[in-house]
């Protein structure tokens, strides 16, 4: 597995979808035989994992949108992305 770098363009692989479902109380990540509830922060990160933008750009965007320190955002985003990549729910691209 390649490591996450600032220029990685993470994306949801085929067979993994982020959907919003009222009855289940919000955002959920759907994957083969698995369902993960995504909290607001996770959903904000995952919605940006389109394979089009780099990790750096995602961090910049989130830092700006939520007016939060870049280092902390970078750390949160990296932890989430690495964790999901290990479960095959995200490709680092």
């Amino acid at each position: 597995m390649s490591a996450l770098t600032p220029s990685s363009k993470p994306r949801l692989p085929r067979g993994v979808r982020l959907v919003h479902n009222e009855a289940q109380g919000g955002w959920v990540l759907l994957a083969p035989e698995r369902v993960f509830k995504a909290d607001q922060i996770a959903a904000e990160i995952l919605r940006r994992c389109t394979g089009e933008v780099t990790l750096d750009e995602i961090v910049d965007d989130l830092a700006k949108t939520f007016n939060a320190p870049r280092d902390r955002i970078r750390n949160d985003v990296s932890v989430l992305i690495n964790g999901l990549a290990e479960k095959k729910l995200l490709e680092l691209g």
Binding site: M1, G15, R17, N21, A23, L30, E33
Partner: protein, 360 residues
């Protein structure tokens, strides 16, 4: 919302048993001994309605299963209906009878993920277990098609006495087929599997060895492939939280349209199942007597009633409690606290090398 004092959640998953027809005869099949006949099967429009109603109820994932779901010529249409309703579509297949061309049509129809079962790493043994000559080769061919189409592939292997010593080789096979996920499922003894229990049951030593091996494989392949394991329960001390709790997370629709809390539920006598031909799925989920029967914890007897685990394992499996103790309200005897627990060890000790009763 609540029934019987229990909170009513929205279900997450729907197991759609589209047909009981299947070219294979696996002796561990969890389908009931009395299979639904083709004439009794729901038609395309009814299944499409079930998919829409499921999505409306909050279901996120549908498992198109059977029998062999591809035995239905309208599988593409059903998949399309499920996907347009917003459901995540898992195809659970034996792979026998699906051509490359049909797989492509199914992918176009909206299948999100394909699960193919393998019976063993050694083709001859695999075909013997499946009761179908050449099954093994066809599975490998379809797996290649699935990967070629870019769909995620799960390889499912059901583990029992005849193949338990080859888990490592089966995982290697799954990897070579391009699987991104592996399910290692020890046989659960319902339906045909229960009928074949003595011929399938591994020894305690084999199971302990297998559990260790799976742990090591998980560690070895971490990040490369996901390994999910269904543990063998006859040798366990704690019961499985069967289907995540009765009527809590999932529902199962039989080929003829009966809606069950789990695929084995029809073995329990006295339960009244409602049919999608007469009721909406939402009505069934909320009000059908079979779903209400064991929802929550009110129905429990001791030792479950006062047990600290009752909200975690829900007393184990109702079907197994009935099958092994004669009363579905008893604790699942897999639990070491159940009075009938010792009986399970006696049953597990009955390992007899007889010919399989193939599922036909």
């Amino acid at each position: 919302m609540s029934t019987n004092g229990a909170t009513l959640n929205a279900p997450l998953g729907l197991l759609a048993e589209l047909t009981h027809r299947c070219p294979l005869g696996c002796p561990y099949c969890s389908n009931p001994l009395a299979l639904d006949q083709r004439e009794a099967e729901l038609d395309t429009a009814a299944w499409a309605r079930v998919m829409r109603e499921a999505a409306g109820l909050g279901v996120l994932q549908v498992h198109l299963s059977g029998g062999e779901p591809a035995a239905r010529r309208d599988l593409e249409q059903i998949a399309k209906a499920a996907r347009s309703a917003g459901l995540y579509c898992n195809l659970i297949t034996s792979a026998v009878g699906i051509t490359a061309q049909r797989m492509e049509a199914l992918a176009d129809a909206g299948i999100d993920h394909v699960q193919i079962s393998i019976q063993d790493s050694e083709p001859q043994s695999a075909d013997h277990i499946a009761g179908y000559k050449g099954a093994s080769g066809r599975k490998r061919a379809l797996a290649a098609e699935v990967v070629k189409l870019g769909l995620p592939l799960t390889i499912n292997m059901v583990v029992h006495r005849a193949n338990i010593s080859r888990i490592g080789a089966m995982v290697d096979l799954a990897l070579s087929l391009g699987a991104s996920r592996i399910e290692i499922a020890h046989v659960q003894y319902y339906g045909w599997a229960l009928k074949n229990r003595a011929a399938l049951m591994p020894s305690r030593e084999q199971v302990e060895q297998a559990v260790k091996e799976v742990e090591a494989l998980r560690e070895q392949h971490c990040g490369r492939i996901v390994i999910d394991a269904v543990v063998p329960d006859y040798y366990a001390r704690f019961p499985k939280p069967c289907v995540g709790g009765w009527g809590r997370r999932s529902l199962n629709v039989t080929p003829a349209g009966r809606v069950l809390p789990c695929h084995a539920a029809e073995v329990i006598p006295g339960l009244e199942f409602w049919n999608v031909r007469e009721h909406s799925l939402a009505d069934i989920w909320r009000n059908s007597p079979a779903f209400s029967a064991f929802r929550g914890t009110e129905w429990m007897a001791e030792p479950c009633r006062s047990c600290a685990m009752k909200e975690k394992d829900f007393g184990g499996c109702r079907c197994q409690a009935f099958l092994l103790t004669g009363d579905a309200r008893n604790a699942d005897p897999i639990c070491h606290l159940a009075p009938q627990h010792a009986h399970v060890a006696e049953l597990a000790a009955m390992q007899i090398d007889t010919a399989y009763h193939y599922r036909r």
